[in-house]
């Protein structure tokens, strides 16, 4: 049994804390708009507040079940190898989001496919770049021309006069 890596036990706790935290945020946001009763019925925050309470309650139960029951202590959630595969997949996606925000979806797609194919598939630079460009062009044809749906564009397209 390998114990290298993040255990499921810790992740269960972390996730319960995460959901609990979201629950608390919900309660807080609901409290901000009022959780009482107005002459015309329950206030805006009434429903969300109690939902938030249930989220916190459920998260607490999950937390306690894990800790008190010592559940999943020996299960590995993520080991080094899986983390690497996961990171190789997920980090480029975050990069994709950032780049698309700044430079538009077409540039973003091209660069993302380029890096993803390089990182995950170890393809040659030129092949990855060619695929990236090909896919971007396909998207342009499909979405802008066939479906008439404009996609996010950035400074590069604006320089060419495409809006």
């Amino acid at each position: 049994m390998t114990h290298n890596g993040i255990s499921r036990y810790s992740m269960e706790i972390a996730t319960a804390l995460l959901t609990g935290g979201i629950g608390v945020a919900i309660c807080y946001g609901a409290w901000q708009v009022g959780t009482g009763w107005t002459p015309s019925g329950p206030d805006s925050g009434y429903f969300p507040f109690w939902i938030g309470v249930l989220v916190v309650a459920g998260s607490l139960v999950n937390l306690l079940r894990t800790i008190i029951g010592h559940r999943h202590k020996d299960e590995v959630f993520l080991d080094a190898a899986r983390l690497k595969s996961l990171a190789r997949f997920t980090l480029p996606i975050i990069g994709f989001a950032v780049i698309s925000l700044l430079l538009g979806l077409y540039v973003g797609t091209t660069l993302y496919v380029l890096f993803a194919m390089r990182l995950q598939g170890h393809y040659a630079w030129w092949r990855s770049l060619a695929s990236g460009i090909a896919i971007s062009v396909c998207f342009y044809l499909l979405f802008e021309l066939v479906f008439q749906v404009p996609l996010l564009k950035g400074p590069l397209e604006h320089a060419f006069g495409i809006y």
């Binding site: 499921r8 992740m11 269960e12 996730t15 959901t19 979201i22 629950g23 919900i26 946001g29 609901a30 708009v33 015309s40 019925g41 329950p42 206030d43 805006s44 429903f47 969300p48 939902i51 938030g52 249930l54 989220v55 459920g58 998260s59 999950n62 079940r65 959630f77 899986r82 595969s85 996961l86 997949f89 997920t90 480029p92 996606i93 975050i94 994709f96 989001a97 698309s100 925000l101 979806l105 973003g108 797609t109 993302y112 496919v113 993803a116 194919m117 995950q120 598939g121 170890h122 393809y123 695929s131 896919i135 998207f139 979405f143 479906f147 008439q148 749906v149 404009p150 996609l151 996010l152």
Partner: protein, 517 residues
């Protein structure tokens, strides 16, 4: 019978070349989506929804529902040929479908699966045809408290019927409800839970949530396990197909039983996935040769497939007639209906019978079209999976991002997408159910509205939910569902469900090493 004439009207509405073409396109897109990992039925329908905004509702719903069938069939294809379920509801098909294909009978496995699926779906549609009006009439008696009671029943069923811990299901559902309340409050007009972020004024779109939870998160889980798709080559020969079709009546017991299970689990919000597992488990239990299951037993394919598809179709009945979706995809379709300005529920049958019966008629035709198409194009789709994941994965992600952007042209949605991806990843790995989250996000507003109106009607007293026999019955059923795990534990039935669910193999892990060519 009145229903029959309405159905004929429905057929008249949809039998145009335009609609037929839409059916074909829908099925083929659906198959593509069902076959590719990370793009399941809820996700695929979500991706297509923004593109339907310019279509008329009848065409749009035909496209979406045919896509749904196509996705279900596509999911079965990968289950049988690659031992990789393309859909959660096709996991049970891997138990006997893959072994049969491995024994050289791929065509037989595929045909059994598709024909059972087609029959299951048709049975579901017939049931809808017969019951739809009755349920809608019944629903007309509903007022706000009854509606809320039905939603309550749905929520409780999820908690009671889920194989995950009740507290986890509760968290998942409540999060969905909370996400639904973000943005503008429709009653008071004020803003809620926006925390000063202007992009949250429009709320959190369930489409973005689905694409994160079912799309990116699914891909994350798949990538982590380092999947490679080595599948069984399939050459479809007509003679094999026909021979298998002739063989099908032998399994009529399994078919009927599975269809009934599926219809029941589709109408109550248990869903196609639960239906397929339950059906396979029960088939094994009642079989004279249980040891054959898991090795390529035909009943082991017929049962889950028929149940899966009859449940998937039946889930549309409560969605259409009462406005309560019975599955994640039904929830997304309902979201679509609402975006197009149609409110599912009894009033829809009265104000837009052309739409409702057009949809029901299209379900008959769509299934027939789907079965034929799917048998004809299986090798094509199987070959798509041979494209290395390092290429397909990024393309799918790029498609998802463009889909997200089309929802509201908001770049903030990218971050929401990533948030839901993280949440979905954690939830999937830690055995939190994800479908309830989507369901409650779609239902959230209606549930809250029903609650608030009930409160107004009763001047703030919760007793309104016990005020008449109808609402009390429904609430009672809900409470029963909620405490069912406790009851069955006491009575000793709990092990039965766990034993059924324990048959589920680890998500996406092939049961044999990748030495298969």
């Amino acid at each position: 019978m009145n229903n029959l004439s309405l159905l004929m009207d429905g057929f008249a509405t949809i039998l145009t070349w335009n609609h037929l073409m839409i059916m074909v396109i829908g099925v083929m897109l659906g198959m593509l989506v069902g076959v590719l990992p990370g793009l399941g039925a809820p996700n695929g329908v979500s991706l297509l929804l923004p593109l339907t905004f310019t279509m008329d509702p009848v065409s749009a719903i035909i496209l979406l529902s045919c896509m749904y069938w196509g996705a279900l069939f596509g999911g079965s294809t990968t289950s049988i040929l690659f031992n990789i379920p393309g859909e959660p509801s096709s996991v049970a098909t891997t138990f006997d479908g893959y072994p049969m294909a491995r024994n050289g009978e791929a065509t037989r496995a595929l045909t059994l699966a598709f024909m059972s699926a087609g029959l299951g779906a048709l049975a579901g549609v017939v049931m809808i045809t017969l019951l739809a009006n009755w349920v809608a009439q019944f629903g007309l008696k509903f007022s706000s408290p009854e509606y809320f009671a039905v939603y309550f029943l749905a929520f409780c069923s999820f908690i009671g019927m889920s194989s995950s811990a009740p507290s986890k299901t509760l968290v998942s559902m409540m999060l969905g409800l909370a996400f639904a309340t973000v943005g503008m409050d429709s009653v008071s007009g004020g803003l809620r839970l926006t925390f000063g972020i202007p992009d949250l004024v429009k709320g959190i779109s369930f489409l973005v949530a689905v694409m994160g939870l079912f799309g990116i998160a699914e891909l994350m889980v798949t990538t982590e396990e380092g999947l490679s798709f080595k599948g069984i080559k399939s050459r479809i020969r007509i003679m094999d197909i026909l021979r298998t079709v002739a063989e099908l009546p032998r399994y009529w017991v399994s078919l009927v039983r599975s269809i009934l299970i599926g219809i029941w689990m589709g109408i109550t919000p248990a869903g196609p996935t639960a239906a397929s597992f339950m059906s396979h488990g029960i088939a094994k239990r009642f079989s004279k040769h249980p040891e054959r299951f898991g090795k390529g037993e035909p009943n082991g394919i017929v049962s889950p497939e028929a149940a899966d598809h009859s449940a998937g179709t039946s889930a549309l009945l409560p969605m259409l007639a009462l406005g309560v979706p019975g599955s994640a995809t039904a929830a997304v379709m309902m979201g679509g209906l609402m975006i197009w300005g149609l409110t599912p529920g009894p009033m829809l049958f009265i104000t837009r019978p052309d739409f409702v019966w057009g949809l029901i008629a299209s379900m008959y035709l769509g299934n027939v079209v789907a079965v034929i198409l799917v048998l004809a194009t299986v090798p094509l789709y199987a070959s798509i999976l041979r494209v290395p994941f390092a290429i397909i994965g990024p393309v799918i992600v790029a498609v998802i991002f463009t889909g997200v952007y089309q929802v509201a042209n908001s770049t903030f949605d990218f971050w929401l997408l990533l948030f839901f991806a993280l949440l979905g990843y954690l939830f999937k790995k830690l055995d939190y159910p994800v479908a309830p989250l989507v369901l409650t996000m779609v239902l959230g507003h209606r549930a809250e509205e029903a609650f608030r109106q009930s409160m107004v009607m009763s001047d703030g007293s919760l007793t309104v939910f016990w005020s008449n026999s109808l609402v009390t019955t429904i609430m009672g059923l809900g409470v029963l569902m909620l405490v069912w795990p406790l009851i069955s534990k006491v009575v000793g039935l709990r092990g039965w469900r766990q034993r059924l669910h324990r048959q589920k193999p680890e998500n996406h892990k092939p049961s044999t090493p990748d030495s298969r060519a």
